[in-house]
Symmetry: C2
Subunit: 454 residues, 2 copies
């Protein structure tokens, strides 16, 4: 049976002994009172949620996958996913680092970072449902009108509604300038949006009351290429003036992809058929709002592979201590047994130590990045905000590409530690490799990240 | 739709222009008359079998997988597999390089090598059914008694019966000295064998009339460890004196593994319940016969990854020429289109060229090794035989580990060329990665190969 033990001590080491995050927070009014004990106590509970609620659904969710009813366009997520999501919302986990103005708990982003590392270790496919919401939340929080914020941010903060990013179309992924989805202005100030999007993670599901799609599309008079792309909010259900849910909007799941991994997440083809949307930010400046979301997502994807590296390492270490096979090159170590545990063998140690180094180094980088993100938003000194933002711009593609390349290698090496058993589904290791593989591709392939870094 | 075009010209280049294999064959009486045209003509037909008969079953076989009926212990292979195998047997492909004394066509091993590269490109999971037979054939051909050869080799040569290697047990893979399966001598000279084997590729299936299991087990008086292991033939159906099939033997599939890949191959848990077997070679010297089989299998596994590297490369190349996205860094190349084909981008070229180099270099090494194997058996000069055998001993773990490490990387890179589409099953690329992953593990993990090389 696979294991996952939240690495609380390792997180505390990076936060409190290496980076001394609470010292950083002292200069920020909203976090000045956040102390070490509070952070540790929250993360201890977060670890319980990850390891006890969603980790047990990881293999079963992979095996069962998501089902689309093509008549109703409704998606059924794997058994237990919906209930786990209710536990997540009821526990206030969605709101952990969100703005108190919209009902958030206002904790530093580093707490959310560590929550998500643990949730990704436990169940990446499940974690993508709430995870995408954070990017949509950040984009609306930065670029939304007061009315849009009032309409959407409370429910996205609580997690009652989730978010998506609708960028990719069948013929354009990296090159969003080729996009064809159209937005027609309506007399009431809204837009009717028509087109086809693909690869929309958490694009349609049964876990939340509403799904807030952030959609890139072209206005009729838009210039060609990337400078003619605008950003729209397109909710699954229109929202009435009193905040209640109105009619079903013309945006629905047209199909689900059959994928190598993350089977528990509904990767949807999204059809927009005259769906009603409202503009976010300025016309033809949609990439500004989308980049807020995209950068949050890139850090999030790096964090996914950090989580998988950690859980793959933990399981490979446990197996290497338990499985006996051959003797140590330097003579028997477990003389009471017919063979030594395989952790005595140099190449097994090499693979384990590489994975451990990737997990610990990746964690330090990810936590450091979350502190930079915090400072870029909330530090009172403008220069600190600007410097933090610049450093984060440099580090974001590194977090995305370096952690995901390493995560795939680490998952592959930890699988190798299991020998033939690593190839068998019940041990859980091959799923980590399959899940880790997408992280090198989505939110911009790792090659694009390297161009961005240059 | 995935494509596969047999790389006949590339094979011819290595065989006839680089290695000049027919010059080598001139000194061997049994191959002295084998000319370039014959080899090329056979491989052209072989390519048709691979690309037209088994390639179309690759994705469907992965999706459907194998089913075990737990009452009858019968395995149903994916739709079309059985019919394709009949075509293979009827076409004489099983007998291509087998000994004419047992009905073989007696062609040089290099022809079989190239046949198997193409079959592995087309469908690794299917190809493992006949592939395992070659190792069992080689082991019996070298170490079997005249009676055993007369009983089994004709049908294994024709492909009417297939073979397996039953080594691994739940608690021992690499460390075969820990083996527990027991063989009890019977008054009639046979043995009753009892134990549990796992990870038996092609261990039970519906494609052939009989399955000839080569089983490692311990005699009652066997010394501990690897020096107390003996090799036995244990057929699925006992064979009557007249060559017809007799009673069902006490060896059957107890379960099938759910794996990361090679879903079309039945990876069986094999239960031996007093199964009747006959000894191959000397008591307690079972590893001699098993190593003949194992070394054939290790070359075969390297060849599997060569095949996957080639097919992954072909598809990535085709996609990179077709998919348009962004402009070349040196200015537009396809000015009539809204973007350039992605093959213009440096990192896409890097990935394609790496895969191409792995395919072409791997092919040269694999073909060279097959010529060495030929010379080690059939060269009239004893010194050439010995030198060839020694060089092959050096190269075998390299073919296994280097080609399979490279194959996994190449499949992963070729998948990356497809961006998000590489993660979707219908494009076929993610299956290549999943299938390639096992090759680094089975027939001795790549780490064990490196120890063997040292």
């Amino acid at each position: 049976m696979p294991v996952y033990n939240p690495p609380l001590r390792d997180m505390q080491f990076v936060m409190h002994e290496v980076l001394k995050v609470t010292d950083e927070f002292k200069s920020m009014p909203q976090h000045a009172d956040t102390d070490v004990d509070t952070i540790n106590a929250v993360l201890e509970e977060a670890g319980k949620f990850a390891s006890q609620v969603i980790f047990p659904l990881n293999i079963s969710g992979d095996t069962e996958g998501c089902q689309l009813n093509r008549d109703t366009h409704e998606v059924t997520t794997p058994t237990g996913f919906k209930e786990a999501y209710k536990t997540y919302v009821d526990g206030g986990w969605a709101a952990l680092s969100c703005d108190p103005e919209y009902g958030g708990q206002g904790l530093p982003l580093v707490v959310n970072q560590c929550l998500y590392e643990m949730m990704n270790s436990a169940n990446q496919a499940w974690t993508m449902y709430p995870g995408l919401t954070h990017g949509a939340y950040a984009s609306l929080h930065t670029h939304g009108t007061p009315e849009q914020k009032a309409t959407y941010l409370h429910k996205m903060t609580s997690g009652e509604w989730t978010g998506t990013m609708c960028l990719t179309e069948p013929h354009c992924g990296t090159d969003l300038g080729l996009m064809r989805t159209k937005a027609e202005p309506q007399p009431d100030g809204t837009y009717k949006i028509t087109g086809n999007k693909i690869f929309i993670s958490a694009g349609e599901h049964d876990m939340a009351d509403n799904i807030i799609h952030l959609v890139l599309a072209r206005l009729p008079d838009a210039p060609p290429g990337i400078k003619g792309v605008s950003l729209f909010i397109v909710p699954k259900f229109n929202v009435n003036a009193d905040g209640t849910l109105g009619e079903r909007n013309g945006i629905y799941g047209g199909g689900l992809e059959h994928k190598m991994g993350i089977h528990g997440n509904a990767t949807a083809q999204i059809v927009l058929d005259g769906a009603v949307g409202t503009l976010v930010g300025q016309p033809n400046k949609g990439m500004q709002g989308m980049f807020v979301m995209m950068n949050a997502a890139r850090l999030g994807v790096g964090n996914q592979s950090l989580g998988l590296t950690e859980v793959a390492y933990q399981n490979a270490l446990a197996y290497a201590k338990d499985r006996i096979q051959m003797r140590s090159l330097t003579g028997p170590k477990a003389k009471d047994k017919p063979a030594d545990p395989i952790i005595v063998h140099p190449d097994v140690r090499r693979m384990l130590l590489t994975a451990k180094a990737y997990a610990e180094g990746g964690r330090a980088l990810a936590i450091y990045s979350s502190v930079l993100l915090e400072k870029s938003h909330n530090h009172p000194d403008e220069k600190v905000r600007k410097d933090s933002d610049e450093m984060l711009s440099l580090l974001t593609p590194i977090v995305k590409a370096f952690l995901t390349d390493n995560g795939y290698q680490a998952a592959t090496m930890c699988q190798q530690v299991f020998g033939g058993h690593g190839y068998i589904k019940e041990w859980g290791m091959e799923q980590h490799v399959r899940d880790a593989r997408i992280n090198m591709i989505y939110e911009g392939t790792n090659t694009i990240q390297s161009l961005d870094l240059l």
